[in-house]
Amino acid sequence: MATVTGTKKVVGLTGNSAIAYAMKQIDPDVCAAYPITPSTAIMEEFSGYYADGQVSTELIAVESEHSAMSACIGASAAGARVMTATSSQGLALMWEMLYVASGLRLPIVMAVVNRALSAPINIHCDHSDSMGARDSGWIQLYSENVQEAYDNLFQAVRIAEDKRVLTPVMVCMDGFITSHAIENLTLIDDAEVKDFIGEHEPAYSLLDTENPITVGAMTLPDAYMDIKHQQSKAIAASKDVVLEVAKEFEQRFGRSYGLMETYRLEDAEVCVVVLSSAAGTTKVAVDELRSKGKKVGLLKPRLYRPFPHEEIMEALKHCKAICVLDRADSMNGFGGPLFTDIRASLYDAPERPVVINRIFGLGGRDYTAEDAIGVYEELFKVVETGKVERLSAYLGEE
């Protein structure tokens, strides 16, 4: 097990160790989890902190991820600050409970270490797990590297528990690529974490026997739609809270976050849009092409749900051609989930860029800077010829 010996300095940690350490610093009231590759080490190391008496958390070892999320829901409705972690099939097994957590407006924070869904069975990274949960009413933040995953977890607590939001949050990072690779990161002092996240003040509590409540009652056509409307407005408005929390985080800790990160995009003719660790790889390609005078840029969404469509349109509208790289296929005959969202966002642009889609990296397939350069070259070809040969395709397909 990785041992964290210092704070306020650069340490080397895997993504899983950094998340486990962040959870130790947050010290949630309840944590119910079931281990699954590649997120196993998060709970393994957190269990170590628990066994050593370094957290006051009630740790519940359950028999499945469905039970893990169910226990999280019960604990959160009882007024506890609740966290968990999962991947892939584990997230899939939580499915029906994800909607219960969001529908009851419970501010649960979950680390999702992205891994491909079966079949065929595979333990490596792609986004098919969390992309399937994109419309489950959870806020989704995607992290490029270990530092971002660590920082996003604290911000997720603030976003989820904000009175205007009260919605669960997934903090996603790439399986193995980020979860198992040791990277340098700067840690935050325990006291500063406590001060930033504050005390949890639940919106309601099942344990308040002086004021009994009924949670999750049957609602029929006269009320269900109104409750969903409340939820829809809250998740749409959470975008502003994400920015507020990011601003305060930057003031306190010096690292800047937004709804997205743009890289050399301002004057770019062609652009790649991609989530998480692949954005880091793409930046290498951008720098190389820029050194040859090519006007290329990158947009990496950080907040994927709610989808900041207006801001993304503003950031991309000047481009001539864009390729959206999806690490998941929607199996819809049209393109990946990020592609359809980005393309729809640009419908209102004064001059619509060409937007193509490439599916990449499924089941951990390598994505290199050379692959990214190939994508930019294809985009330049689209701009020169004015023709799109393949709207949506698998990267490298014959």
């Binding site: 407006r105 009994p212 609602t219 109104d226 409750i227 409307h229």
Partner: protein
């Protein structure tokens, strides 16, 4: 469009609200009790999923037909040597 009387997340600010939701109208089969056969073992009271078996002073006295959905679990669970509960068609 949100109605003003809808609370946050549909929470109801009191407990035991299922009591107010009458489910007797769902019933197609009605439980009937032959008190002469009943031995007050109260297995029906334990097993009823709708808390619709009425017990007074430790004795089984009948059914709360405002909540009984007519599932027949009470009749099924009534011991074989007793069979004090039978399910009968509700009158149309």
């Amino acid at each position: 469009m949100t109605k003003k009387n809808i609370t946050f997340a549909g929470i109801i600010f009191e407990g035991g609200t299922a009591d107010k939701y009458k489910t007797g109208g769902w019933r197609k089969l009605r439980p009937t009790l032959d008190k002469d056969k009943c031995i007050d073992c109260l297995i029906c009271w334990v097993m009823c999923p709708d808390s619709a078996v009425i017990v007074e002073d430790g004795k089984m006295v009948g059914f709360n037909l405002e909540h009984c959905k007519g599932c027949g679990i009470c009749a099924m669970e009534c011991p074989d040597k007793v069979k004090a509960i039978t399910m009968e068609e509700e009158e149309k």
